[in-house]
Point group: D2
Chain length 255, copies 4
């Protein structure tokens, strides 16, 4: 097996006020990049501060996880925003998180849009461009993370940013590289062995079997760990062991 390098990212800091979500403390030791909620879908300011501290404690790269403004919908509801609005909400949230990183002597290193914004940006050129230009304007050294092969990484490259192609261990892909819609049977890979195997295939070879059986090649810079799954930490540990055994180096995107 050839040795590559892979980043393991997870959405973090998605509690809000008195409400808890995710097992951040359990998962953080196993990942290399944390995408931290910035207050629009989750993550009040004090939660952001504590999540940044947790990431630093474990040597994990601090990333912004900006969203559409939708607390009640957890940022999962599509919303028509103009390019100006998208630009401004990205800059706002990245800056807000960066304040906590700077206060702790660090900086935000990457940006991964959340939920509906992520999915819309994968297909919408104008939205992707607005996001990418905002990220670039705030800090041209930031890495923009998006769905592998989708519009968002393309927009990032047009804007002059480093980009990272994200893939999923526990989601089935269509032959064209898009994710199988959740309604489709088998769209979510619940079996841990299968998810680890797909993660390993993605990280080591960038090649998996799509739904329907065809071979699919994907650019793969980072694997997403779903932190809201009950066994997220255990899954992450198993995945790391498999990657280690295969000689794949696990490191944050900037390294």
């Amino acid at each position: 097996m050839s040795a590559g390098q892979i980043d393991l990212n997870c959405d973090m800091g998605e509690s809000f006020g008195a409400w808890r979500m995710g097992e951040d403390a359990a998962v953080m030791p196993h990942i290399t990049s944390a995408n931290i909620a910035c207050g629009f879908h989750a993550g009040d300011p004090d939660t952001m501060r504590r999540t940044v501290a947790l990431a630093i404690q474990h040597g994990v790269a601090i990333g912004a996880h900006p969203s559409l403004p939708d607390l009640a919908g957890f940022g999962r509801r599509e919303m028509k925003v103009s390019a100006n609005e998208a630009y401004a909400l990205i800059a706002y949230q990245v800056g807000a998180l960066d304040a906590f990183a700077r206060a702790a002597g660090r900086r935000v290193t990457h940006v991964k849009p959340h939920g509906a914004l992520y999915n819309m940006a994968a297909k919408d050129v104008a939205l992707s461009d607005a996001i990418a230009v905002a990220v670039h304007d705030v800090d041209a050294t930031l890495i923009l993370v998006g769905l592998a092969g989708s519009e968002l990484p393309r927009a990032g490259e047009r804007a002059g940013l480093r980009v990272a192609h994200e893939t999923f261990c526990d989601r089935r892909y269509e032959a064209d590289g898009s994710l199988s819609p959740r309604g489709v049977e088998g769209a979510v890979i619940d079996d841990i062995d299968s998810a680890v195997a797909q993660g390993l295939a993605l990280a080591a070879h960038g090649e998996i079997t799509a739904r329907g059986g065809s071979l699919l090649k994907l650019k793969v810079d980072t694997l997403c760990i779903h932190g809201d799954k009950p066994n997220a930490a255990a899954f992450a540990a198993r995945l790391r062991a498999a990657l280690d055994a295969a000689g794949v180096r696990i490191a944050a995107l900037a390294n």
Copy 2:
């Protein structure tokens, strides 16, 4: 008359979405420091972006105007927040605004809390310390603006920040240097000539007559222009002319 130096500041960017407030375009040419709302009492992200651009166009220093989280109350309602909460909401808002400044090639230079937070911080040591430490942690070169002679500038100095003492042209003072409560007759100086005269006395001599008739000495680094008054731009122009005639240099705090 001795020549001193004075900053003229005004709260800006207090529109929100479809709602307009203030005559920012008319007032901006007359001031040296803009305190820009950061989304918690006013100022959606796109309004923040446009207000930063307007400040830059007129060579006005960009300041953050963070608030308690209270859109419906415009940040004017006192709210008991813990030191941790205060720290986090200050860092969050300063960072959010700074993203728009950085995107335009500038930086935030000062921070002035808004409304109830400003008034509470003038008297509350623990709250003032939380605010000052947050500002210092985010960027130790920021200038912290607070009510002249109050707890907030003291906390700023303890935290190692440059501070600015703010005074008001159109508010009466008590003998102890506090503002006369709004309920008191004559607490607000509506006559423009009187307000200009008080502004000049503050800027040139740091000395005015308090309610009751005693002489009051105040530290004076910046004068507040109330941008929500109907004649804010005309008042600012008159004040500048009076300051010019008296040989008082008008310049932003950092200059």
Copy 3:
């Protein structure tokens, strides 16, 4: 000219906290139905209370004007909400407004969705059904107001509600009865004489000339007055005079 009956409605109570919008006091005397914002796009609770009082003072019917949850976007941004979510946000807002009506000895008489929700409901059967069933469940005597000839009134009838078809004096129509998109030249009728003429034609005959020249028949129960236009009160007065002269009775929907 044959004499019919027409309702004149206007969106009201769209201020929020310290921000003002619309000339409610000037327009209220000229209309028969007020659609009052319910807090999701505009209208904090105290504004709702005062707007209900103003409507009662002028004998105007009290209607709910529920919206998608989007203060920063004034409810004008489309948002994908599920049928359950739509049902719940309609019930919530109608109930909230009804509390102020009941506190003043009245009841809400009609419901007209706002902005993006109104436009989406005109075309989306599932969304319209969710809205209509919610209105019916809360109070089966409520009148549901929607774009003339669109899905929303149809859904209202399926739910067993009285419905009202709404038309616009100052918007051009396509041959199929839809509103000409705002991008199209002439989509908005800015000339007051032309708008009054179209309003009269709609109220008296239910017949106007569509863009392109064809004759368009529309069901017309109520005409919308745009209260955010600078001359809304003057326009409403002119329209009333024209309707009076033509023998069209002006009365609220329930009368």
Copy 4:
């Protein structure tokens, strides 16, 4: 032991969007009155709908649990609101919840303010009066629930409402009938046996031992079950068994 009657109430519906709080389904079978969050500190509209349905399923009285507008602080942070603002936010939230009750063929029967609003109202006459008048104006048959012996029940009586005095099984009381502040040692009664014993003493005799050892008489109409405690359902079951054994009838306030 003399037989009295007692209501068992619990705060319910305090989830929000994707975030869960409380074990509503486990606790609901054991109580007689549900105080349902109304969107200002918790409880999005769809959660309100589902919580009303759950209460009906278990024959539990539907009550409104209105709060200061503070999602990030879960309504636990004191906030200075005017009497007008308090009136309006109470009416708004009671009406919103009542819509879901009416949609299910029921009505809201009681109102218990939440968190900081509850605590402030216990001591603040003007605030209590605003709350009580709002409740009365919306529906004069509603029962107002407040801290036993505090200003809120007094204000309710002045407004002409039925009131209910609430006491706590798991909180220590001072000799004057106020709750021992949480900072004080022993302020929270964690031992289940002791909490059951205090609940029984309150319900059967209206008499407990205050901190310091003196006997304290309290008016007791309803006991609060803290639903956010890990063993809330088990505690409620134990308390019911003790009340049954002592011949105390358990019934909703209106019964």
